[in-house]
């Protein structure tokens, strides 16, 4: 713990001011752009993190393999890699395999091996292909030592590790990639240690989440998700968000507006005042999905192919600010990080707790449903 104190509190302050930082950019017209902007933006919130985790999710970066599952896998040992590769050869058609390019970076120490694979599912045994892939990811994470799947979607990837986000970006050469949707995270681990698997984003298939806060409901969320085949292995609360979203949106087919009402449901006192039909719906959602309510303070940016969603807990105990410029949506823990890379926003506002801010490919950015808003200067 001595070491942690040195990293956390280099000035010996009597109060450590860290918190996590999160940031997302989406061009809803689908135009790709490099990671240069988001790296500067998340680095502007450097003081919120403490070097024990940084990461990025990128969508649209592998157009030449757009129809194949892109696996990014972290290995803590050669043996893990051999076993996992044998497993992948057995369960998939491996079209391409290579180490993820990195460069030596002074602030990133003892990095694990990170490999990428482009996979095709030859025979899913009658299952939907996504379900087949999800089960295989769980098998690797729970069954093979020293191997963790960082990302497993199509035409997207997660890059993450221990370091400040700008260091992780430098290590993985992220300025070289182009994507139309990027999310980023700077970590200040609260309850669990900082390790490469515990950095954000968390990913399953093409769903990713970056999170600031603390889910006191982690235990109940985790047990509920286990019934549906999701196994938490990454030792931190945020993992449940990625799995909950996959369950609700992909498997149960709920629209995101409904998912927000599962994760951050209106308070009972507000439900009571709703018109009868809405009251019935909200009550039903709380009855069916009560165990997926995310309790405790949180702000999350959830992304998948074609969509980026910002959401906070119902009483907004963690910050989220929104900016819009033309087709581009920005979500951030702090407005200054947005202004750094886009000084002349069309609009900037602070969304209402529990109400999602949604960017969709091909649609103009939706404002918060009843946002207390203010135009930019």
């Amino acid at each position: 713990m001595k070491e942690l104190g040195r990293v956390n509190n280099a000035y010996g302050d009597d109060k450590v001011i860290d918190a996590c930082s999160i940031f997302g950019i989406m061009d809803t017209s689908g135009r790709g752009f490099s990671g240069e902007g988001i790296i500067r933006a998340i680095a502007n919130m450097h003081d919120r993190g403490n070097s024990l985790g940084g990461g990025f999710a990128v969508y649209g970066l592998y157009p030449e393999h757009a129809d194949r599952y892109a696996f990014h896998v972290m290995y803590l040992s050669r043996q893990g890699k051999e076993q996992t590769e044998a497993f992948l050869e057995d369960k998939f058609k491996v079209v391409y395999a290579a180490e993820v390019p990195t460069r030596r970076t002074p602030n990133v120490s003892s990095p694990p091996l990170v490999w990428r694979y482009f996979l095709e599912v030859a025979d899913a045994g009658g299952q939907p292909r996504d379900d087949y892939v999800m089960s295989r990811v769980m098998e690797i994470n729970t069954g093979i030592e020293d191997s963790f799947v960082f990302s497993s979607g199509k035409n997207m990837a997660v890059f993450k590790g221990v370091g400040y986000p700008e260091d992780i970006a430098e290590y993985f050469c992220l300025e070289r990639y182009q994507g139309y949707l990027w999310t980023a995270h700077g970590r200040f681990p609260t309850n669990t240690r900082g390790w490469w698997g515990g950095a954000h984003p968390f990913c399953l298939l093409d769903w990713t989440g970056v999170h600031n806060g603390e889910l006191s409901s982690y235990g109940i969320n985790r047990r509920f998700l286990e019934q549906f085949g999701y196994h938490c292995t990454l030792q931190t609360d945020t993992e449940v968000i990625a799995y909950a979203i996959d369950l609700l949106m992909r498997r149960h087919n709920l629209p995101v507006e409904m998912v927000a009402r599962v994760l951050a449901p209106p308070l009972w006192r507000d439900i009571e005042r709703c018109p009868p039909a809405e009251r019935e719906l909200l009550t039903a959602l709380r009855q069916v999905y009560g165990s997926l309510l995310l309790n405790g303070p949180f702000t999350v940016i959830i992304a998948h192919q074609g969509e980026m969603i910002g959401l906070t807990d119902r009483i907004r105990l963690r910050p989220l600010t929104v900016g819009v410029k033309g087709d581009i949506l920005y979500l951030s823990s702090e407005e200054s990080a947005v202004r750094l890379i886009c000084p002349d926003l069309d609009r900037a506002w602070i969304p209402v707790g529990g109400q999602p801010v949604i960017g969709r490919l091909g649609e103009h950015v939706q404002a918060a449903r009843e946002g207390v808003t203010a135009d930019a200067n």
Partner: protein, 256 residues
């Protein structure tokens, strides 16, 4: 030193703070004030925290850009004008001075303030004026031109909070819930209205009396001067007063 003296006679200084860390920035500010600067303009501010913290004296800070969290925290006397939006924690525990935001402010603006005045042109986020306090001649004031999000005035223990609702539509209520939850001191003047269910259990509602109007007029006039609005026009609107019904709402909570 990045500082550039613009007007030596009046001690006006401009500083471009691009990329400067908050520690260095505040060190420089303290030095400039010690050297007698009367007006300091900070250019390209982008997320630096605690600007103006601990500063005393009559210095005037003018900020161009987006200052970081806890702007003016523990400040004791200076005035800060921001041409931009403020982030979270603006005016944290400030003791004396003035903060003028030409834009919106984030969450917990004026938290635990014990003196001084904060004026925000547009809206503010959650928990504005949380645990603002007052004693004797120390009476912090927060005037918000627009409206506030939930828990505005939470645990308020003193001071004056004014919500002018100028960003709301004609006849539109404020939307905040849990207004004044746990409030046990101070007063909230609200232009426009709210439903009873939006108020915390500890909050009463009343008409303004003459003394209330004097406080309101003084602060609305200052607001109007800062932002070029017409005070009389604003004061024509209908106001309600929210006050704490008990001074110690939780006096028995942990006492058996």
């Amino acid at each position: 030193m990045l500082a550039m003296v613009v007007d030596g006679a009046n001690q006006v200084v401009k500083v471009d703070v691009t990329g400067l860390s908050y520690r260095k920035l505040n060190e420089q500010l303290r030095q400039l004030v010690a050297d007698g600067a009367s007006r300091i303009e900070l250019l390209n501010v982008c997320g630096q925290r605690y600007i103006g913290t601990d500063l005393g004296g009559p210095v005037e800070l003018v900020i161009y850009g987006t200052p970081g969290n806890a702007l003016g925290a523990f400040m004791d006397g200076p005035s800060i004008t921001v041409y931009g939006n403020a982030q979270d924690g603006c005016g944290n525990t400030m003791n004396e001075g003035e903060i003028i935001i030409h834009g919106h402010a984030g969450d917990i603006v004026g938290l635990s303030a014990r003196g001084g005045r904060i004026f925000v042109r547009d809206d503010v986020g959650y928990r504005a004026a949380i645990h603002m306090k007052g004693y004797g001649d120390k009476k912090p004031v927060l005037v918000v031109g627009g409206t506030a999000q939930d828990f505005v005035g939470e645990y308020m223990a003193g001071g004056v909070l004014v919500l002018l609702g100028l960003t709301l539509g004609e006849g539109e209520n404020h939307r905040a819930s849990f207004i004044g939850t746990g409030m046990h001191g101070g007063v909230i003047y609200l232009r426009g209205s709210v439903e009873d269910h939006q108020l915390g259990e500890e909050v009463g509602r009343a008409e303004l009396d003459e003394a209330d109007y004097r406080v309101l007029e003084e602060n609305v006039s200052r607001f109007a001067r800062h932002f070029g609005r017409d005070a009389d026009e604003i004061l024509k609107g209908s106001f309600i007063k929210l006050f704490p019904r008990w001074l110690r709402p939780y006096g028995q909570l942990y006492a058996y």
